[in-house]
């Protein structure tokens, strides 16, 4: 059941539901019809942002293990040159977005909800935009899949929908894949970067999908796009028709959060990804349209992930629009190119209005996961009131949770109970907080509970190790004690059985035995010595 919010944008007039659409659409529980605020940033074509004088590249821009820095300050780098090396299977390198000199490798402010500093590489650009070595596989169909996957990995491609999970890992599902889904839903308010990318680069996206389809041998290809983007749907349908790929472009209803991976899969296939599994476990891989374009750029043109389309929008921006910007460009610079702030700007957000996080300053770079810079003016935040258990939150929860129960247990810090209520199935979409008549910042409570539980688990692992070590130590002491006791007992027994003094024969044999022992010991020592010298 979807709750209608006044001023919805779901426009039934736009006829993007192709009658030949063979895929039957399904529904997911809950969700919201939201005011999209999308038209304000789609009137201009994507503009290539100016080359900035400096670029700041956080080393960690992906989910997974951090990568190792392989450049030093003062070093000349060329466009596309690798700056870090992936340290683990789930990791991704970053590349120089343009040519220039490395001016610093140090901790700087990065886009993070807590305003953290993290290791960054700073490049003073030289304006020449000179490419380094380029590797590409235009004839990908005659290329080994492992080579392609490795190339995508080395090109630093991560999911561009916002999660930034390494794409190469998703392209190695370890089982056969039935369905490859391209996610062009873009359900979050304000964000239009995928919409504009589909309108302007549909053919590249479809080609990128063809590469992924080839790598996965997926039988079915579906491109899901919300029906509030008729231009993108038309462009993608035309591009599919032109290509060899047998993909279907499906218009899906505009209900937030259809773009959530699990929600999109439910809508298109009626399958629910089990709680503790990945889509690949049910034979589905889902990729963002921007990621498909990045795969295309890397495989066909040899360009690693060094730029992306980003929406700079909101009531606080003078000329909202989309930019093709180099990763590492300062947000302040992009805002300036969008005409700067309007008076009365209050809040700056990376991402959309539902899930994006607020930033304290704009003096930070955009990263691979930055799909939107949103500047809001009037942000009304009514004070929170007590929960009246009205149940509106569970009516809109796409994960079918009981948000008010989760809130209750988060407030009480009952972290066992909150997991019984499946806290970790919460996707933090914010629907519950949006409809809450008491204006309780529910998602904040869930994030708090999740972080606390993770901390507790880390502590538990630590204390488990300490306990094991302690037990082992105790056991060792016990063992040594026992061994010592045994030795003493033996010795005692030996002494007891010792022949009486005066038994010359026995004494002689004892001496001989002692001499033999000494000799053996000496020999052993010399061999060890020799070994060491050797």
């Amino acid at each position: 059941m979807a709750l209608a919010i006044p001023g919805t944008t779901g426009n039934p007039d736009t006829n993007c539901y192709d009658m030949s659409q063979s895929i039957q659409l399904h529904t997911f529980h809950g969700g919201l019809k939201l005011d999209g605020h999308k038209a304000i940033s789609t009137s201009h074509p994507i503009k290539t942002a100016e080359l900035p004088a400096t670029l700041l590249l956080p080393v960690q821009q992906h989910i997974g293990q951090p990568a190792d820095v392989i450049v030093k300050p003062g070093e000349q780098v060329f466009k596309g040159q690798k700056l870090t090396r992936a340290s683990d299977y789930i990791s991704a390198p970053i590349h120089a977005p343009t040519s220039g000199i490395i001016s610093a490798v140090e901790e700087r402010l990065v886009p993070h909800p807590s305003g953290l500093k993290a290791l960054c590489i700073e490049i003073q650009t030289d304006g020449k935009d000179k490419w380094g070595e380029k590797v590409s596989y235009p004839d990908f169909r005659n290329t080994d899949i492992v080579t392609l996957r490795n190339h995508i990995r080395e090109s630093g491609i991560v999911g561009l929908g916002g999660a930034a999970f390494p794409t190469s890992v998703k392209l190695n599902p370890g089982r056969s894949i039935d369905t490859l889904i391209l996610n062009g839903a873009e359900c979050e308010p304000y964000i239009t970067c995928d919409d504009m990318l589909m309108r302007e680069h549909a053919a590249d996206i479809v080609e990128g999908m063809a590469i992924m389809q080839f790598m996965l041998s997926a039988e079915q290809c579906i491109i899901g796009i919300e029906d509030n983007k008729p231009e993108a749907i038309a462009a993608m349908r035309a591009a599919v028709k032109e290509s060899e790929l047998a993909a279907e472009v499906v218009a899906i209803p505009t209900i937030y959060p259809t773009g959530g991976e699990k929600q999109l899969i439910k809508i298109l296939t009626n399958q629910e990804v089990p709680g503790d599994s990945l889509p690949a476990d049910i034979g589905i891989v889902c990729q963002n349209v921007g990621t498909a374009k990045a795969v295309y750029d890397a495989v066909i043109h040899g360009q690693p992930l060094i730029d992306r389309v980003i929406t700079v929008t909101g009531e606080g921006i003078a000329q909202p629009q989309n930019f093709l910007a180099l990763i590492g460009t300062s947000m302040a610079e992009l805002v300036a190119q969008a005409g700067g702030y309007k008076p009365g700007v209050k809040r700056l957000i990376m991402g959309g209005s539902m899930m994006g996080f607020a930033l304290a300053t704009d003096e930070i770079p955009i990263i691979k996961a930055s799909n939107c810079i949103l500047a809001l003016t009037e942000v009304e935040q009514p004070p929170a009131q007590p929960c009246i258990r009205c149940g509106k939150c569970e009516q809109v929860c796409p994960a079918l949770l009981l948000p008010q129960q989760l809130f209750w247990y988060a407030q009480a810090k009952d972290f066992d109970k909150i997991q019984d209520y499946h806290l970790f199935d919460c996707i933090e979409c914010g629907c519950c907080a949006e409809v809450c008549p008491s204006h309780i910042p529910l998602v904040q409570y869930y994030r708090f509970a999740k972080t606390e539980i993770w901390n507790q688990e880390r502590e538990k692992v630590k204390s488990d190790i300490a306990r094991e070590r302690h037990i082992f130590h105790e056991e060792r002491l016990e063992r040594l004690k026992k061994e010592k006791a045994e030795r003493l007992a033996k010795k005692k027994a030996a002494l007891k059985n010792r022949p009486k003094v005066g038994d010359a024969e026995a004494k002689k044999s004892e001496i001989e035995a002692a001499l033999a022992r000494v000799k053996a010991k000496k020999e052993k020592q010399t061999t060890t010595q020799k070994n060491i010298e050797r």
């Binding site: 089990p274 209005s353 899930m355 704009d362 809001l376 929960c387 129960q405």
Partner: protein
């Protein structure tokens, strides 16, 4: 440039507790007007008195609890409680009876348990039941619906009666009050009359009691408004009315002379008001959709049992309070299936 850092979502929704409570008040208007039409000015005077008492007590408790008074009054929850009490109390109840009911509702049932959102029992029903048990005579002195009474009570007479507890000299209690249909039916069947004989009396209308059935119809209208505005869901009202109807149907089919039909039960007493306005109280009720069905059905069945075999003519208030006690357990056993998980 420095920006504020709140967590997502960043656009506040338009919903608010005050807006929801206001809708409940709007929805109560038609039924209340019908009550005033049939039972006179006393209903309105009660309503005004209860509202004043509730607002004053709410403010007083908030001051004592050192909490913001304005926010509490601004959510209209005390007014809703007052209004629900006013339409369930007899129209000429003395002022102190209303005060006691409101006191127990607002101070005891609501604020002693922690205020809005924390009360395990429906405040209005606690106030009502305390008065019903303590002052059974006053609480069952309902006026006869207009058209049946020998004398009607005017505005000033009503005001005087409520404030002094004394009727004007020209009126007598016997002349203006009358047993409610539920009460009357109970007495008469216990005297051995058959239902068709009883229903022939002028007290009864086409569905249930004269006047009563019309008040119920108008509360029904208000209930539909609440459903339409999505303030309540269909689960509680439907479950309550269906279960009450099914119980009535089972017994009246078996013995139509002694057990009234479903329509009588549904349109008598507080059934409709209870189904849409009282049992749907989110704070003290069950919260999951399935839980709400169980909750509503429980109220319906208990209401029938209390009406038919219990000591009181109407059972809605007791049924709601009993089910309030069961609500946490119901919630525990009716958790919805989480996305991507098998049913528990």
């Amino acid at each position: 440039m420095q920006f504020d850092t709140q967590t997502s979502p960043h656009l506040a929704g338009e919903n608010s507790v005050a807006a929801m409570m206001r809708q409940v008040l709007y929805a109560l208007v038609p039924g209340t007007l019908a009550l005033i039409w049939f039972f006179g000015w006393g209903v309105l005077i009660n309503l005004v008195l209860a509202t004043i008492f509730a607002t004053a007590l709410e403010a007083l408790v908030m001051v004592l609890r050192k909490r913001p008074v304005k926010a509490a009054l601004g959510d209209y929850s005390a007014v809703v409680t007052a209004w629900l009490l006013a339409v369930t109390m007899p129209p000429l109840s003395p002022w102190w009876l209303t005060l006691i009911a409101v006191f127990f509702a607002i101070v005891v049932a609501k604020h002693l348990y922690g205020g809005l959102g924390y009360n395990p029992f429906n405040p209005a029903m606690v106030g009502y039941v305390v008065c019903l048990i303590s002052f059974p005579v006053q609480m069952t002195s309902w006026l006869a619906p207009s058209g049946l009474a020998e004398h009607s009570v005017g505005f000033l007479a009503s005001l005087q009666t409520i404030l002094t507890g004394q009727l004007p000299a020209s009126l007598s209690w016997d002349a203006i009050t009358m047993a409610t249909p539920l009460d009357n039916l109970r007495t008469e069947t216990s005297l051995g009359k058959t239902l068709s004989e009883i229903r022939a009396e002028p007290l009864y209308g086409s569905l249930a009691g004269q006047g009563w059935e019309w008040a119920a119809n108008f509360f029904f209208l208000g209930g539909f408004w609440l459903l339409y505005k999505k303030i309540i869901t269909w689960h509680v009202p439907v479950a309550l009315i269906v279960s009450l109807g099914v119980m009535a149907a089972l017994f009246s089919l078996g013995n139509p002379d002694n057990f009234p039909p479903p329509t009588f039960h549904i349109f008598s007493g507080g059934a409709i008001l209870g189904a849409f306005f009282i049992a749907t109280d989110p704070v003290s009720g069950a919260t999951s959709p399935r839980g709400r069905i169980v909750f509503g059905a429980g109220v319906g069945v208990l209401t029938y049992i209390i009406r038919t075999w219990g000591g009181y003519p109407d059972g809605i208030a007791f049924a709601v309070l009993l089910m309030n006690m069961a609500a946490p357990t119901i919630d525990y056993y009716t958790k919805p299936r989480v996305f991507g998980h098998k049913p528990e």
